[in-house]
């Protein structure tokens, strides 16, 4: 088990002929995931690392059964690519692209929402299910096992890079991850922390969830409410980065686009207070993740499915 992706995922890469997409395709195939097709308008008939390229997603869907798409196109074309994926029956879309205009983001997220299509991102480095050796996006690069080994911990991160670092810390503690998800650093994203918690709650393999948070948005407050309402009962461990930004003049962006404080909105200290009230383990120091995981999960050797 895991959430959202597994060995049955049938993946298409929209924009597969791009430099980044082509490299990610190579790494993903080497990892063992099944990319069935790629789409780049005007390049139909070509191949990328042995994967057939189609001009349209419609043509790709006619030749293959596809349910998952990774959209590697420049910001200006993201909205249309999402519309194309939704129109062709894709059920899960991951958007790595950064700097998607807000106007386009609200449009394509609304379109997907209405069609019941889940979106991860924009500005996501990817997601990974190590037990099934399936990943979407650049996550893990060419050395996936360094950070991502199978185990009982779910990871949700607002930072792409820290998705890897958190998962590596989980491994260092002696465990592994069920699924690690980089949800994207933008203010407007398809799936928030609260949106993913019920999936981890329902996943029998996941025994605890670690979240990496930042200033800005009200995702942590919403997650805390969701826990208090009984929607998530497993242990939640949270690290909220960017405490120093509370001492800076408000309205300044530090880090990702969503990382901005306005009044009390977005303050790490208030997020920490909310999560603590909901019973979450809020880390003062990032390295405390290791002892906290051990405290929550018991000794690594006793955990079935952990990296050991």
């Amino acid at each position: 088990m895991a959430i959202l992706i597994n060995r049955h995922s049938r993946i298409v890469v929209q924009g597969i002929t791009g430099r980044e997409a082509s490299m990610v395709t190579k790494h993903t195939l080497a990892y063992g995931a099944r990319i069935a097709a790629g789409v780049t308008p005007g390049k139909g008939g070509q191949e990328v690392h042995g994967i057939p390229v189609y001009d349209t997603l419609k043509a790709a869907c006619a030749a293959h059964e596809l349910d998952t798409s990774v959209i590697y196109v420049p910001p200006a074309f993201v909205s249309d690519a999402v519309a194309e994926a939704v129109a062709n029956g894709i059920k899960l879309i991951l958007i790595p692209t950064e700097n998607v205009p807000q106007k386009d983001a609200v449009k394509c997220l609304a379109l997907a929402r209405r069609a019941g299509v889940r979106v991860i991102g924009p500005n996501s480095v990817g997601m990974i299910n190590p037990a099934d050796r399936v990943k979407l996006g650049a996550i893990g690069g060419d050395n996936v096992e360094r950070c991502f080994v199978p185990g009982p911990v779910g990871v949700i991160s607002r930072s792409g890079g820290m998705t890897a670092e958190v998962s590596w810390m989980v491994r260092r503690a002696g465990y592994g991850v069920s699924t690690s998800v980089s949800i994207g650093g933008d203010a407007l994203i398809g799936s928030t922390i609260k949106d993913l918690l019920p999936l981890f709650e329902a996943d029998p393999e996941t025994r605890a969830v670690v979240i990496f948070s930042e200033p800005g948005t009200s995702q942590e407050e919403e997650a805390a409410d969701f826990i208090l309402q009984g929607g998530f009962r497993k242990p939640l461990i949270a690290y909220i980065a960017g405490r120093f930004t509370e001492d800076m003049p408000e309205g300044t962006v530090f880090g990702h686009a969503a990382s901005i404080i306005s009044g009390n909105y977005g303050r790490p200290s208030l997020k920490a207070a909310y999560l603590k009230k909901a019973g979450a383990h809020v880390l003062e120091n990032f390295d405390d993740l290791i002892p906290t995981l051990r405290q929550v999960l018991g000794s690594p050797s006793a955990v079935a499915g952990s990296a050991g």
């Binding site: 609200v106 890897a164 670092e165 650093g185 003049p249």
Partner: protein
């Protein structure tokens, strides 16, 4: 988000067919005198600075006659408002006000949709409005997949209690505001107050507009109105920051290199990505360190970009060491980071025996990075240490350095 100065925002609204008070901008007392005489009525003088809540900061004042206008502008010009120097003032005819309303349009991140916020209690800032009259504010979500329909604009003002001809006129104004919000990829458009004059006109007396910087590629007409990178500083960009924006923009499609100067500090901070930088800054600070800048370098930048930003980080006065740390990278080639950083250190002839440089870089091609950094004599760590441990090493080196420099 790039915030537009008020006269730019008002010009865009005017182009959309909205009424704004007659006015001109002035950079000197002579110009103020000329404009105020030309208007020939009591005027409003506004400092042109890209900050909010200007009224409270004394940056919006009234003058009965041209002479008063000159003496007020004398105080304003050359002063600064929330760290921004006032180089120009906007002189406008003072309106004969019957009512002051509030209208703003922005994106609601939870609803993931544009929202219109409207109230007939304008003229105070929105925070005060929501404190004092929470029951008199209307928030209306707009369907992102269809435009704001005319009937919706009427519903909004009808629900607020506007009747008759004014209802029709106000609805028309809102439709135009929403069109401007959409047309210019605005992130925020706030008209406060939206004034109803005694002769029944509706005028945008004050306007705040921020443009989504991700959309600037298709808003070329606004290029000269929006300062790129301004959302990452709480004051005008410093010369060093402007140079770093140039370094970043020189190769916009390969990697990110962002730089913000901190008021003081002695640790040159060369970290990334977005989350990793926040973590390192917090950790160094908690350990008693003082980063001289904030930075965010990631997304597999080219060597030239790394070289440029590292030089920039090292060039700030008072920097006595360099801390380089990223999360384990997914796609950033750390050997390229190494090349850029080492080149900058060599270019500036940094003496590593007196200037601590601590690096924690792991990820793509880190074996090569280890070789490069080690050969250059830099204290290098890969994934044998955590980010927190690397921060501790940096602080230890800085403290040792400080102790060594103390006489006796």
């Amino acid at each position: 988000m790039g915030r537009l100065l008020e006269h730019h925002a008002k010009q865009l609204l005017k182009d959309e067919g909205l009424a704004v008070p007659p006015g001109e901008i002035a950079a000197s007392e002579n110009e103020v005198l000329e404009i105020a005489r030309l208007i020939g009525k009591p005027v409003v003088i506004k400092a042109l600075v890209p900050v909010g809540r200007r009224g409270k900061a004394g940056a919006i004042r009234f003058a009965e006659n041209p002479e008063d206008a000159v003496s007020i502008s004398r105080e304003m010009l050359g002063s600064s408002v929330r760290n921004f120097p006032v180089e120009q003032v906007l002189i406008e005819e003072r309106l004969d006000i019957d009512q002051e309303w509030y209208v703003s349009i922005t994106f609601d991140k939870n609803k993931k949709a544009p929202v219109i916020i409207a109230s007939l209690r304008g003229g105070v800032d929105v925070e005060e409005l929501s404190r004092s009259y929470p029951g008199e504010i209307l928030v209306r979500e707009v369907d992102p997949l269809s435009d704001l329909a005319d009937y919706e604009t009427r519903e909004i003002f009808a629900e607020l209690g506007v009747r008759g001809k004014l209802l029709i006129a106000a609805a028309g104004v809102l439709a135009k505001l929403y069109r401007a919000f959409q047309r210019y990829d605005a992130y925020l458009l706030e008209v406060n107050p939206l004034v109803i004059t005694r002769d029944g006109q509706i005028m945008a007396a004050a306007a705040v507009m921020s443009v989504d910087d991700s959309a600037m590629y298709r808003q070329t007409g606004l290029t000269d109105m929006v300062q790129m990178g301004s959302e990452r500083a709480w004051r005008p960009l410093t010369d060093l920051e402007k140079r770093m924006v140039e370094v970043n923009e020189s190769d916009p499609y390969r990697g990110t290199a962002r730089y913000t100067e901190m008021p003081e500090g002695d640790i040159g901070f060369m970290c990334g990505g977005g989350g990793g930088s926040l973590l390192c800054f917090d950790t160094l600070t908690a350990l008693g360190g003082h980063p001289a800048n904030y930075s965010e370098v990631g997304g597999n930048p080219a060597e030239e970009k790394v070289f440029g930003i590292t030089k920039g980080i090292l060039s700030k006065v008072g920097v006595k060491g360099l801390f380089v740390c990223h999360n384990i990278t997914n796609n950033t080639q750390v050997d390229i980071l190494a090349r850029g950083i080492i080149r900058a250190l060599e270019d500036l002839r940094v003496d590593l025996s007196t200037f601590p440089v601590v690096v924690r870089e792991a990820g793509v091609n880190d074996a090569a990075a280890r070789e490069l950094f080690t050969a250059a004599g830099v204290e290098y760590y890969g994934d044998e240490v955590t980010m927190t441990e690397a921060c501790t090493h940096m602080i230890t080196r800085m403290q040792k350095n400080l102790a060594d420099r103390r006489p006796g």
